[in-house]
């Protein structure tokens, strides 16, 4: 079997910072050294300087897929596989493929190439990282739909930050380099407001630093040795659980802790489908999930946590209760009382 390919991600903080340009620049340098490199997917966005950088590359034709009366073009992963270059350029890592494609997400296509021993160069913005989804929403008001699980990025051989100052980016937008004029104006007032860009840029810098640090040190703890921390996420069917899962996982990742998720099912569970969806979401983020039935939820949580030597429990806030009910303890308070030997984090449902 061939060795797994290396993934290199050019990380930016917004459209137009020059990720694709930088990626192609480096690809050109590889081509000069006679590396066999092809374009698997490239999105020109009508930017002349970027298009000029694709000169000389072999391009694997895209696959055309009809959907809803329109013809969509996606990377032809199978064609890239059979061409088997040393390196493939695949723009826009977070892209969602049109329904009917072999795989739902482009990052899954890239996984296929990597597994076949092909190195991949790709681009993405920090706001597409799953763990930052809530934070990005708070800052920009935009709920990013196309996300990439953090473990996919963590497994990249290299993450390179592509910087441009927000002022310079806004100038480029004003000059019409990034978007068509009418779209540019809207963009400047919304997502591309200076404070938004500055905050996203800071996130991208900190995240790249985090990725660098992850690759630096910390070999896996020796077999049998216990990791310092273990995080347990108590999820429910409530919508806020998605935020809770992301938050718990993010803390676990940063602390290099194990991460488990538990759902305790009451006989009266209202929305089993939502629970199943959240459990699946957790598994996609590589969280070990557990489900159990119990009448006494706080007791079940505490006992499970103790049996698995959990050091931190993550819970969502219970729904606001009417005043007369506040004299009795809710589930969070009961767990707080029962699990006095553990840290318990109550995750806020953040506002904007």
């Amino acid at each position: 079997m061939s060795q797994r390919g290396r993934l290199k991600i050019y990380l930016g903080y917004a459209a137009g910072v020059g990720k694709t340009y930088r990626m192609l620049e480096e690809a050109q340098a590889l081509r000069q050294k006679d590396v066999d490199i092809v374009i698997g997917y490239f999105e020109p966005h009508g930017r002349k300087e970027t298009i000029a950088k694709t000169e000389g590359f072999a391009v694997v034709p895209r696959r055309v897929l009809p959907y809803g009366g329109t013809a969509f073009e996606e990377m032809d992963t199978e064609a890239v596989l059979s061409r088997k270059p040393a390196v493939a350029i695949v723009d826009e890592f977070a892209h969602t493929n049109v329904p009917g494609s072999a795989r739902e997400k482009r990052w899954q296509d890239v996984e296929v190439l990597l597994a076949a021993g092909i190195d991949v160069l790709t681009t993405m913005n920090v706001q597409h990282l799953e763990s930052l989804n809530d934070q990005v929403w708070r800052v920009t008001g935009v709920r990013v739909r196309e996300t990439v699980p953090d473990w996919v990025v963590d497994e990249a051989a290299e993450v390179v930050f592509v910087d441009l100052t927000p002022g310079a980016l806004r100038n480029r937008i004003e000059r019409g380099v990034v978007y068509a004029p009418e779209k540019a104006k809207r963009a400047m007032e919304n997502f591309f407001a200076e404070a938004n860009l500055t905050a996203l840029r800071e996130m991208a810098m900190r995240h790249t630093a985090h990725e660098v640090e992850e690759r630096l040190a910390n070999p896996e703890p020796a077999a049998g040795s216990r990791r310092y921390e273990r995080v347990l996420i108590c999820l429910t069917g409530r919508p806020a659980s998605a935020n809770l899962i992301r938050r718990g996982k993010r803390v676990a990742d940063y602390l290099q802790a194990d991460c488990l998720a538990l759902h305790v099912c009451l006989p009266s569970e209202k929305d089993p489908e939502a629970v199943e969806r959240h459990l699946r979401f957790a598994r996609n983020l590589r969280i070990e999930t557990h489900s159990m039935h119990a009448d006494d939820v706080p007791k079940a949580i505490t006992e499970f946590a103790r049996s698995r030597r959990v050091t931190q429990i993550f819970m969502g806030r219970s729904l606001a209760r009417p005043v007369w009910k506040r004299f009795s303890e809710n589930i969070v308070q009961q767990v707080v009382r029962l699990a006095r030997d553990m840290q318990i984090t109550i995750v806020a449902e953040r506002r904007r």
């Binding site: 290299e158 441009l164 404070a195 500055t198 996130m203 900190r206 938050r247 602390l255 806030r317 995750v347």
Partner: protein, 355 residues
């Protein structure tokens, strides 16, 4: 008004920051100069390094150069020429004796003061406040340096990041640190840039009257009380702040009637907080929860660490501060820590003395 006007007249400073030699920051700087010139701006070069790469040489040949004079920028000639933008490579540079300024960054101040915008480039190893850290990583210390404050005064800072392997490719040069050292330098440079950007963000928000409840950084607040397990909370807070590259804050409520033993314990906690580099705040207010909520909003706190309260069973019907905070916490995560003074069973009364 006056400050605003002065800023109007002052030139703008842009700095390209790299984490090691050869990441390509000079190229990016000159390339920006080229693009600006092509857009019709009046650009000159005030300083070039001696050995430049061919791609830099190519750009430089297309821009007017005001040659340096006896190893220093020719300030007089630049003042006379008075371009819109001046490109200065190698920001960290000591001028020879006899010049009007000892260091090059001071020359840049004069250009900026006279309304000339400057684009310059510098490496992490030359930032004075980070030289100890760099020396710990590489075992070497650069002779010339620039104060961090100058970097922070820049209108714009752009980081030039590049994968370490592109630097290591050109081996045979023993001056290049190894891969691990490069990665450490890279992380430092990214975090320095993030800090600079964070400050810019705060200044921007303040000057536009935006009271944002959000930030791009984790800000962890440890609430100290005399009876809390402060050491564990502070250490955990410190570790979290380190891992998240965030800020650590500690706060306590002012209380005049604190018993001597509690006062002493609190002082010990505060000393530990300061030792760990926490920003310590003392809070005054009639109600602990209200005061804390106001403080967290103002400081854009993202996580609050709090010890378990010892609930007096006789007053169990009163809601404890923890319960109230759980209900009120909307913008931060609340992490509740096991308390130190209790073990499972005997945690009702104030049972100090029993150790």
């Amino acid at each position: 008004m006056q400050a605003e006007e002065r800023r109007e007249r002052r030139g703008r400073l842009k700095v390209f920051l790299g984490y090691a030699s050869r990441v390509g920051k000079s190229f990016r700087m000159f390339d920006e100069g080229r693009r600006r010139k092509e857009r019709g701006q009046d650009v000159v070069i005030g300083a070039i390094q001696r050995d430049v790469t061919p791609d830099v040489r190519d750009i430089v040949s297309r821009i007017e150069v005001i040659p340096s004079l006896d190893g220093a920028i020719n300030l007089v000639a630049l003042f006379r020429r008075h371009p819109e933008i001046c490109l200065i490579d190698e920001l960290a540079h000591d001028n020879p004796p006899g010049c009007r300024n000892r260091e090059r960054w001071q020359d840049l101040q004069e250009l900026l003061d006279r309304g000339i915008s400057v684009i310059t480039a510098v490496n992490l190893q030359h930032i004075r406040e980070h030289q100890d850290a760099v020396e710990r990583i590489t075992g070497k210390r650069a002779a010339n340096s620039v104060p961090e404050e100058f970097l922070r005064s820049a209108d714009e800072i752009e980081i030039v990041d590049a994968p370490p392997d592109t630097l290591l490719d050109r081996t045979g040069n023993s001056r290049i640190p190894d891969a691990r050292a490069l990665a450490e330098l890279r992380e430092l440079a990214l975090l320095l840039a993030a800090d600079v950007v964070d400050r810019q963000l705060r200044v921007y928000l303040d000057s536009h009257g935006v009271s944002a409840r959000w930030g791009a950084q984790e800000r962890i607040l440890v609430c100290l009380t005399p009876r809390s397990n402060a050491a564990e909370m502070l250490r955990s807070g410190y570790r979290n702040a380190q891992r998240f590259h965030g800020a650590l804050l500690a706060a306590y409520m002012q209380q005049d009637d604190l018993p001597a033993a509690d006062r002493k314990r609190l002082d010990q906690h505060l000393a530990l907080a300061r030792e760990l580099g926490a920003e310590v705040h003392s809070l005054a207010g009639a109600d602990f929860v209200d005061t804390l909520l106001e403080f967290t909003a103002q400081q854009r706190v993202t996580q609050v660490f709090l010890g378990h309260t010892h609930r007096d069973q006789r007053f169990a019907f009163l809601r404890s501060p923890v319960d109230r905070l759980i209900d009120a916490a909307e913008d931060f995560d609340l992490r509740i820590f096991p308390s130190s003074l209790s073990n499972e069973e005997s945690n009702e009364g104030p049972d100090e003395g029993e150790k």
